[in-house]
């Protein structure tokens, strides 16, 4: 990074540290914080979409669709999240490969499961064994996003289902008396009004999502936990920057990062709650009205 970094062994004190903290691997480490933020920013809307779908399905009048919605919310309740993460990544991967296998190699004779092996034809492999490194990484990351979205979608579905039920009955009756259909009532009355009821649950979910991001490490993505272990470990003198086991300090850094993220989210969500309470027939909304007049 800096010009004086060419010979690390001659450096001392602060200049050593400044060179150490700007090596290529450290740059990748800093970049992986971006990976975590990207995961959060992509997962949150997708999970919200899944949750909306799940909640709508759970309210449906069509029986199989309702069962699907109820089942989707039920899976998330009894089982540890980490088991989900380990399960879905392999299961989704195999499902995609199996589907491609069926389409691309219809005349394949052997069974897909041979004892302990899962075998699909070569051109159905995902990603193709000939593709570049970044394709492999991108595929791993998108599997992780999909897994997070499925699991958190189930929780969002629980929250949104409750919020839809919480919209005051009088509002829906008014809509019915105006002759609105079920669909119109849903889109024009329930959906715009449910957000204030969903917000406490959704902000709780956001906090949980933040705290779930280190699980990326278990899904094989090179995230901050991976790099903290990698960089912090004991480096003997064959490395250019030898140091003892510093993993404790790296993990302390991660702890501070997460605490900061939590604090910032708390402040932003507090403001959002105040904004959404405006004009609502709730205690918070009433208090705002009184304060203004």
């Amino acid at each position: 990074m800096f010009s004086y970094c060419s010979d690390p062994s001659s450096l001392q004190g602060l200049s050593w540290l400044s060179c150490y903290l700007t090596t290529g691997k450290h740059m990748l480490f800093y970049g992986s914080f971006g990976t975590v933020i990207a995961l959060l920013l992509v997962t949150a809307p997708v999970a919200l979409l899944f949750g909306f779908g799940g909640a709508t399905a759970a309210r449906s009048h069509i029986v199989p669709l309702r069962w699907f919605g109820k089942g989707y919310t039920a899976i998330a309740r009894g089982i540890p999240d980490i088991a989900f993460f380990l399960f879905f990544v392999i299961a989704l991967d195999q499902a995609f490969e199996w589907m491609r296998h069926k389409v691309k190699c219809p005349d394949w004779e052997e069974p897909v499961r041979q004892g302990n092996d899962f075998v699909v034809c070569k051109i159905a492999k995902l990603p193709l064994s000939s593709s570049a490194q970044w394709v492999h990484e991108a595929y791993g990351f998108s599997l992780a996003v999909l897994t997070f979205s499925i699991v958190f979608g189930a929780f969002a579905a629980i929250v949104l289902y409750g919020a839809m039920q919480a919209v005051p009955r009088a509002q829906i009756e008014t809509a019915e008396s105006y002759g609105m259909t079920r669909r119109q009532t849903f889109w024009r009355i329930i959906v715009p009004q449910m957000w204030i009821f969903a917000l406490p649950g959704l902000s709780n979910l956001w906090m949980i999502l933040i705290k779930a991001t280190p699980l990326l490490f278990l899904l094989g993505v090179e995230d901050i936990v991976y790099w903290a272990r990698e960089l912090g470990g004991l480096k003997t003198s064959i490395y250019s920057y030898p140091h003892p086991d510093w993993r404790l300090w790296y993990f302390l850094g991660l702890l501070v990062f997460y605490l900061g993220l939590t604090r910032v989210s708390e402040i932003i969500l507090g403001r959002l709650t105040a904004r959404l309470s405006r004009g609502q027939a709730t205690i918070a909304g009433n208090n705002q009205r009184k304060a203004a007049s």
């Binding site: 089982i79 380990l86 086991d245 605490l259």
Partner: protein
């Protein structure tokens, strides 16, 4: 091997009793059920110990958070913020690295009249190190729940206690504490379920499984890795977890009824179970 022999060989494998080598190939359903169930012993152990100890510590944290003096209140607030604001996963890693750095032989503590040696080598093992992290973590979460309940103890109850001449410790023990527990109980049930789920993280976060003595998820993951088939071991794991969660709900429901037994029927709060998952 018949299924009965498998159970004899692997039923207590996770605590080091029975066959040493794990099955290597030709896994039967019985193998998977037995080993994953054997691992569940650890989950129950982690969950039980940290809940029991965390319960008493959390009462202390709730009282400290409610204290008037900032010298007591601020540290409690900081403790709760740190443990609730960061992922349990990171806490496990951090604690493990910290325990590894401690000297292996033990620390001599000079008490003036005598010298004792604090054993530190067990701290890097999951049965002690992970339990300490889980205790601190559940103390923070439960402390926050109890604090909320403590704030909503009805003023009338306190006034009635004053009228009877109850003050200090007797008032706390006989009036404030039972009411606090009664109010906090539904949320605390969720916390117990939530903590039990969190025990599955132990062997995936720094703490190594010594001699392949792991928890239920460790064995489920072992089978999934060996067979490339996640569709059998993880549902078995889910089955076991749901069983234990049902057990927790039953047990806490009994306590809930006892805490509420003086109230008229329709005012008794039914437990609503809405477990969260990740911390």
């Amino acid at each position: 091997m018949t299924c009965l022999e498998t159970i004899q060989a692997y039923g207590l494998r996770s605590i080091g009793i029975g066959e040493r080598l794990l099955p290597k190939s030709d896994f039967t359903l019985c193998d998977q059920f037995t080993l994953i169930g054997s691992g569940l012993i650890w989950n129950v152990y982690f969950g039980f110990i940290s809940l029991v100890i965390g319960f008493f510590l959390a009462t202390g944290v709730a009282l400290a958070k409610n204290a008037d003096s900032p010298f007591i209140r601020k540290p409690a607030e900081l403790f709760v913020f740190v443990f609730r604001g960061s992922p349990l996963f990171i806490q496990f890693f951090l604690a493990y690295e910290l325990f590894v750095l401690l000297p292996k032989v033990g620390i001599d503590i000079n008490l003036g009249f005598t010298e004792i040696t604090a054993e530190t080598r067990w701290l890097t093992r999951a049965w002690l190190g992970a339990v300490i992290v889980l205790i601190l973590n559940t103390t923070a979460y439960t402390g926050e729940i109890f604090y909320g309940a403590l704030r909503s103890v009805p003023m009338g109850d306190i006034e009635a206690a004053d009228a009877y001449g109850l003050t200090g410790w007797p008032r706390f023990k006989r009036i404030v504490w039972p009411t606090m527990l009664r109010l906090a109980w539904p949320a605390y049930t969720n916390e117990a379920i939530f903590l039990f789920h969190a025990t599955a993280l132990v062997y995936f976060s720094g703490f190594p499984a010594w001699r392949q003595k792991g928890d239920a998820l460790y064995y489920a993951n072992y089978f999934a890795d060996k067979t490339f088939n996640p569709f059998i071991p993880y549902p078995i794991l889910a089955f076991y977890f749901i069983l234990v969660v049902l057990g927790i709900i039953g047990l806490f429901g009994v306590i809930n009824r006892r805490l509420n037994r003086h109230l008229p029927q329709e005012r008794q709060k039914k437990l609503k179970i809405r477990p969260q998952i990740i911390r």
